[in-house]
Symmetry: D3
Subunit: 136 residues, 6 copies
């Protein structure tokens, strides 16, 4: 069993804002992250799969195909977007890095080939903050 990780990235706007709360409570809870006019990040996304290397290729999966799946089902829907307004799979959710990582897992997992298993979604919001989700 070998683990293979591909790094991708996307740039997006978001805010942390709970519509059930007052502006004051949002500011108290989220500080500058609640700025009504949005802010944004360069997100770094690491996707890890595991599997057995194929005898003929030495690959657990062709990294170009892997990258294409990540782009089609996650990056293309997130890059240069507003996470709160433009992303169907984030509708109705708080746009925290935690929730975003979990949602990206849901989007990518069904499209991977059967001989590999999705192991981890690791998402950097800034160079000093990241979350990891292992699917459970």
């Amino acid at each position: 069993m070998v683990y293979l990780t591909r790094k991708e990235h996307f740039n997006a706007a978001h805010k942390l804002y709970n519509a059930a709360w007052s502006i004051e409570k949002n500011e108290m809870m989220f500080g500058a992250c609640a700025n009504e006019n949005w802010h944004g990040h360069n997100y770094d996304l690491y996707v890890t799969i595991k599997g057995e290397p194929d005898v003929n290729t030495g690959f657990i999966m062709d990294v170009k195909v892997f990258s294409k799946i990540i782009k089609e089902y996650a990056v293309d829907k997130l890059d240069h977007k507003n996470l709160n307004l433009d992303v169907d799979f984030m509708k109705g959710k708080m746009c925290s890095t935690e929730n975003l990582a979990m949602a990206i897992w849901q989007e990518i997992e069904p499209h991977l080939p059967k001989n590999v298993t999705l192991h981890c979604i690791k998402l950097y919001e800034t160079a000093r903050i990241y979350v990891e989700y292992f699917g459970e």
Copy 2:
């Protein structure tokens, strides 16, 4: 003469959009960067000054004071903000990295002590794109 550089960072939303143009022309010129709902970046800002080290301290400038000036006149006005809507010194300008670097120079330069000279504003929009402005 020694050059001293301090790195700071800020996270902001923006879009590239020229109000004098149609939506179609904006999309043609700026592509995904023109997304009306904004996108955003983790900007890395490097500010470089030059001067002679003081005999008593060995410093051309106390880096804590230097950092405080960068924060007060640039980072605090940019961090967790919308560059198009929230930043007084970007009003009426295209929010390109080029224009932002030049504007940051204008904001910081008057507040530096007389014994140092502002040398360079270096601004990373992403890990693969940066601009430098030397004041002329």
Copy 3:
């Protein structure tokens, strides 16, 4: 269950020196690291917790509060200090990266909120050497 990591850093002096041994044995065992006049490092500290995202915030923990705990109970006691002489929780221990990581776990763990679990202390001594401690 989601894992959240916050990176902090501190700059400190230390030496590797076992007081029960002769100077010669210390030099033989620790080489340049035993220099009696100390040396030092920029330590990078990654603290990882795990928990369930809160429905209202999307957070497993507010990263500002998390950062504040790391600073109060670890970074503020280590930054710009001599690890052998100035740090109460390293008294009587060898100042290896291994022991430092384990000690940081002991300092931080009791102060975290009940709904999250400390998962890992990862400590870089240099860009090429790091240790991880998972609490057992």
Copy 4:
């Protein structure tokens, strides 16, 4: 139990080419990686061991000795080499990052002292692709 990681690196040429296939099939499967005249990489190698810190040194293992073992049994055989032609332990195997990581485990593991356990070989082929092997 503490985990200790040492980063090393090596520069090597390779190609992805299955001698049982036609040139056309190799190009179809491996694209530019099948270039008959080779290409190459700066590989970053992270080796992680685990063990209990020694009471007298605070180390699970002297990192200089650890580094020397990695160099003798892996890096010196790989650095400035052609992975397909020059490396005895890659003979007859596809030169994928997966296979290389597994082979490096086999080379290093028997030479580690009994009081530590090899935990992980992590190998970066590029800044955006890496594999991890945990020995099973």
Copy 5:
């Protein structure tokens, strides 16, 4: 005047070998870099241009167009190639990083628009070695 830099990368094989010299002299001069079976690198390429920002776009040049020129005239000819054997503009030259940076300048410079000036080719061979060429 603002300076804009775009980072690209390519992976290539090469060797340092002067055909006018004996194998022994090549090994004496270039050490492991003269390995007849080649070695390779992940090259990081930074291309810097300077110019005046356009009033309507805020750009000195559209970074997508800039990136496309770098790819067409440099990266696509170098990536996954053997620098000694496969690259027309390196024929008959020693494959040092110095010569490669100078050759990349010659390839890119004629294809840039008239309103910008090529300022610098910065080329990393490894994370610890890079060269810069300013065209004179």
Copy 6:
């Protein structure tokens, strides 16, 4: 004319302390950096030379020889040392990054071959603070 840069590093202890001042004034001027028991850093040192590539090698200078000079005249005197107490060429000077960079220039410059010119000493004290010295 091509510029060649080599990165080296060293780990050292220091403090900022002016012996002509009281403890109180030192603390007021240098804050935590004046801690009498020292603190320390992982310094990253970039040395840049310029020259014409040799026709036979393609090098402006053999980077192994260049690295050896930096090590012999700078790194070996600084690594795992106390900059205030152990380094002959820092005696009687404030141990600021500015002064250290200027001193490293003085140590290295006389030992470079005649066909290259020392261009820059760039010294990182932390990932967010660096100085550059160009010899004048």
